[in-house]
C-alpha cells in the first residue's frame, strides 16, 4: 500500500504557484529523493506532506487519511503520530541537551523515556554526547541528534529537507549511511537534496521545476 499519495496538489500564494497540480505516490518502505532548483517548490511540498501546511487544492492521502482538509489541531495530531521531520538548519532547542532534545519529541507524543532516547542517540552514534548542549556539538553531530529526534516515535514517514545542506562531505556520508540503514530496516523516507550523489543512493528521484513535477527517475 502507498504510504503517500498526492493528487492534483497545488499551493498558491497570490500569483506565485509554489506547487502546481502535483501527482505523486510513495510506496511503503520506499526511499525517495526530491530535486530541483531553488524556489521550485520542494520545501512547499515537504511542508504539505509533513502536515505543517495545507494545500490550496488537491488531496493528500497520508497512510490512508486525507489530510488536505484537516484543521490545525487535527494536523498536529497526525504529524505527531506519523511524521518525523529533519531540517537543514537542525532546529535544536539551544538550552536543552542532546538527549533532552530527543525527549521533547517523546514528551509531546506520549511520555518521556530517557533510556529509549539514549538508545536512539546510540543508533546515530552519539551515545557519549547525550549530555552536551547543541552549541557544544559539531554540525554533523547536531544533525544526527535531529535524526534521532525524528525517529524516536517510530514515524510512518521520515521527511528530511536538505539534511546535508549544511554539512561537509564526511558528515554528509555519515548522515546518508544512517538513512541507508533506516531504509534497510523498512522506513519510508523522503529527502530533498541538491546533491546528485545523495539522490543516486535513493530508490527514485522526483524533479520539480517551477512548482511542477518535471520528471521522475528510478535509480534502481
Amino acid at each position: 500500500m502507498d504510504i503517500l499519495k498526492l493528487a492534483n496538489v497545488s499551493k498558491i500564494y497570490g500569483s506565485v504557484k509554489a506547487l502546481y497540480e502535483a501527482n505523486m505516490s510513495v510506496a511503503g518502505g520506499e526511499w525517495l529523493a526530491i530535486m530541483g532548483p531553488s524556489g521550485s517548490g520542494k520545501t512547499t511540498m515537504m511542508n504539505i506532506i509533513g502536515c505543517m501546511d495545507r494545500p490550496t487544492s488537491g488531496s493528500v492521502l497520508l497512510d490512508g487519511t486525507d489530510v488536505s482538509g484537516l484543521s490545525a489541531p487535527e494536523l498536529t495530531h497526525i504529524r505527531r503520530d506519523k511524521i518525523g521531520l529533519i531540517f537543514q538548519q537542525f532546529h535544536l532547542i539551544s538550552y536543552l541537551t542532546a538527549v533532552e532534545n530527543v525527549m521533547v519529541a517523546q514528551y509531546y507524543h506520549s511520555m518521556t523515556d530517557e533510556g529509549e532516547a539514549l538508545r536512539a542517540l546510540a543508533r546515530v552514534g552519539l551515545e557519549d554526547r547525550a549530555g552536551h548542549l547543541p552549541r557544544q556539538l559539531s554540525g554533523g553531530e547536531q544533525q544526527r541528534v535531529c535524526i534521532a529526534r525524528a525517529l524516536i516515535n517510530y514515524p510512518k514517514l521520515i521527511l528530511a529537507d536538505e539534511p546535508t545542506g549544511n554539512l561537509d562531505e564526511t558528515n554528509e556520508g555519515i548522515v546518508i549511511d544512517i538513512f541507508r540503514r533506516l531504509h534497510g530496516e523498512g522506513s519510508s523516507i523522503i529527502v530533498v537534496t541538491h546533491d546528485p550523489e545523495v539522490a543516486e543512493v535513493t530508490d527514485r528521484t522526483v524533479f520539480l521545476e517551477h512548482g511542477r513535477i518535471a520528471k521522475t527517475v528510478s535509480n534502481r
Partner: protein
C-alpha cells in the same frame, strides 16, 4: 520535561526574564503597599468611628453655670463652664429617650498623679462606670463607660461605682509603674488616694489618662455636683435634606416640617431635645465629623485603587511587550515544538508558564518591597505603622496572575497566528 523546558527557557533569557520580573515587582510592590494602606487605614478609621460610639457630646453653652459660682477661685484660668450632675437623668425624659442607648458624664481635671515611679501630671476623668438609677419616667436605667467602651481591653476590674478606685490607661500605667492593685495619689484641688482596680488599653488617647468614678474626680477637682461634658450614644435615623436644614437652623422649618423633624430620630432632633432639658447645654453630633472623615477616606481609597489599577496596567503593558518580543524571537523554537507534535495550546501553556514563573517571582519580591513602602507611607502620611493584612498576599498573587495572563494575551494571539511552516523557514 515541561519543567526542564521551563527552567531552560527562563535561564536562557535571563535578561528578559529579569526585566519581566522587575516590571511585575514594581507593579506588585505598589499594589501591595496600596492594599495594605487601604485595608489598614480603613480599619483605623473604623476604630475611630467606634471610638465615637458616642455620637453626641453635650457640653456647656457659653452662658452656663460658672465654676466660680461654686467657689472655684479660678486663678488665671479662664472661667470654666459646667453642667449640673443632677440634671443627668433628664436625658431619659426626652421624646426619643428610648433611642438614647447609653450615656456617661465626664468631669475632666488635670491632676498630679503619684505612683511607684514618681509624680506626673495626667488627665483624670470622672465618669459613670456602671450607673443604675430609675429615670423620672420610671424606666430602670443601667449605663456607663463599661457599656460605651466595649472595645477597651481591661486587666483587672472596673472600679465600683462610688469607691476610691480608678482604672489607669496603659501608657500612663507604665509611666507611673502601676500594676493592678497598687494605690496611687491624685491631687488637684484636693488630694485623694485611690486604688488602681484595673489597667485598660483603649488604642486611643485615653491610654494616657486615668478614669475614676465621677464622685472621686469631683472631690479631687473640688467641683461637687458638676460635670464637664456628657457622651451620649443614640440610635439615629440617617440624615436627609430636612435633617441638614434643621441642623443649621430649626427655626427655618415650616410648622409641618418641624413636626416631622422633631418626631424623627435624626441626630439633630435628638441633640435639640437634649438641649431643651439640660440647662445651658449644647449637644453636638460627633458622627458628622467621622462621616466627613469617612468621605475623605473613601475618596483617598478610590484614588489609591485607581493608582494601583494604573500601575498594574503599566506592568501588564510591559509584560505584554516583553513576552511578545520573546515569542517573536523564538519563532523557530516554537515552530520546532509544533513540528515535533506540540499543539498551539501546549506552546501557549509553556509561554504562559514561563511568564507566570517569572512574574510570580517578581511579584514575591515586589510584595516584600511593598510592605516596606507601606511602612514608609504609614509613618510619613498617617503617623502610625501600617499592619500587613493577611488578605494582601493572596490578593497580590491573584492580581499578578491576572496581570500576567492579560499581558500574555497579545503574545498568545500572535502565537496562534504563526504558521510553523513559515517560522521554520526563518
Amino acid at each position: 520535561m515541561f519543567l526542564r523546558m521551563l527552567t531552560g527557557a527562563i535561564s536562557r533569557q535571563k535578561a528578559r526574564a529579569l526585566t519581566i520580573a522587575l516590571a511585575m515587582a514594581l507593579g506588585a510592590s505598589l499594589a501591595t503597599s496600596m492594599l495594605n494602606v487601604m485595608l489598614d487605614v480603613g480599619d483605623k478609621v473604623n476604630q475611630e468611628l467606634k471610638a465615637y460610639g458616642a455620637n453626641l457630646t453635650v457640653v456647656p453653652r457659653s452662658a452656663s453655670i460658672m465654676g466660680d459660682l461654686y467657689g472655684d477661685a479660678g486663678g488665671n484660668r479662664k472661667a470654666e463652664k459646667f453642667l449640673a450632675e443632677d440634671e443627668l437623668p433628664k436625658l431619659k425624659t426626652i421624646f426619643w429617650a428610648f433611642n438614647i442607648v447609653d450615656y456617661t458624664p465626664y468631669l475632666d481635671v488635670t491632676a498630679s498623679v503619684t505612683g511607684p515611679k514618681g509624680t506626673f501630671d495626667a488627665p483624670v476623668s470622672g465618669v459613670w462606670f456602671d450607673r443604675r438609677f430609675d429615670a423620672p419616667t420610671g424606666e430602670a436605667v443601667e449605663t456607663g463607660v463599661i457599656r460605651m467602651k466595649s472595645w477597651w481591653r481591661l486587666e483587672g476590674d472596673w472600679p465600683a461605682e462610688d469607691a476610691s478606685q480608678c482604672v489607669v490607661g496603659a501608657n500612663l500605667a507604665s509611666k507611673l509603674g502601676v500594676v493592678v492593685g497598687d494605690t496611687l495619689n491624685a491631687a488637684a484641688k484636693k488630694s485623694e488616694t485611690v486604688t488602681a482596680s484595673g489597667i485598660f488599653h483603649s488604642g486611643g488617647d485615653e491610654d494616657d489618662a486615668l478614669f475614676a468614678p465621677l464622685a472621686v474626680a469631683q472631690r479631687i477637682a473640688g467641683k461637687p455636683g458638676l460635670v464637664s461634658r456628657i457622651e451620649v450614644s443614640a440610635l439615629t435615623t440617617p440624615e436627609n435634606e430636612l435633617a441638614r436644614r434643621a441642623a443649621q437652623n430649626p427655626n427655618s422649618l415650616s410648622r409641618h416640617e418641624w413636626d416631622t423633624w422633631y418626631c424623627t430620630a435624626y441626630i439633630s432632633s435628638i441633640a435639640y431635645q437634649i438641649e431643651e432639658v439640660v440647662t445651658g447645654a449644647r449637644a453636638k453630633p460627633v458622627l458628622s465629623v467621622a462621616e466627613g472623615e469617612g468621605a475623605i477616606l473613601r475618596k483617598t481609597q478610590l484614588l489609591m485603587l485607581l493608582l494601583t489599577v494604573l500601575c498594574l496596567a503599566c506592568s501588564a503593558l510591559a509584560i505584554s511587550n516583553l513576552v511578545t518580543a520573546s515569542v517573536m524571537e523564538r519563532g523557530a523554537e516554537i515552530g520546532l515544538l509544533e513540528a515535533v507534535g506540540a499543539s498551539r495550546f501546549d506552546v501557549s501553556a509553556l509561554i504562559l508558564a514561563e511568564a507566570l514563573v517569572t512574574t510570580l517571582t517578581g511579584g514575591a519580591v515586589g510584595y516584600f518591597a511593598g510592605r516596606v513602602f507601606a511602612q514608609i507611607i504609614g509613618r510619613s502620611v498617617f503617623g502610625s505603622p501600617i499592619n500587613s493584612n493577611a488578605l494582601v498576599p493572596p490578593l497580590v498573587a491573584v492580581l499578578v496572575t491576572a496581570v500576567t495572563i492579560a499581558g500574555s494575551l497579545p503574545a498568545i494571539r500572535l502565537l496562534m497566528s504563526m504558521k510553523p511552516a513559515e517560522t521554520l523557514r526563518g
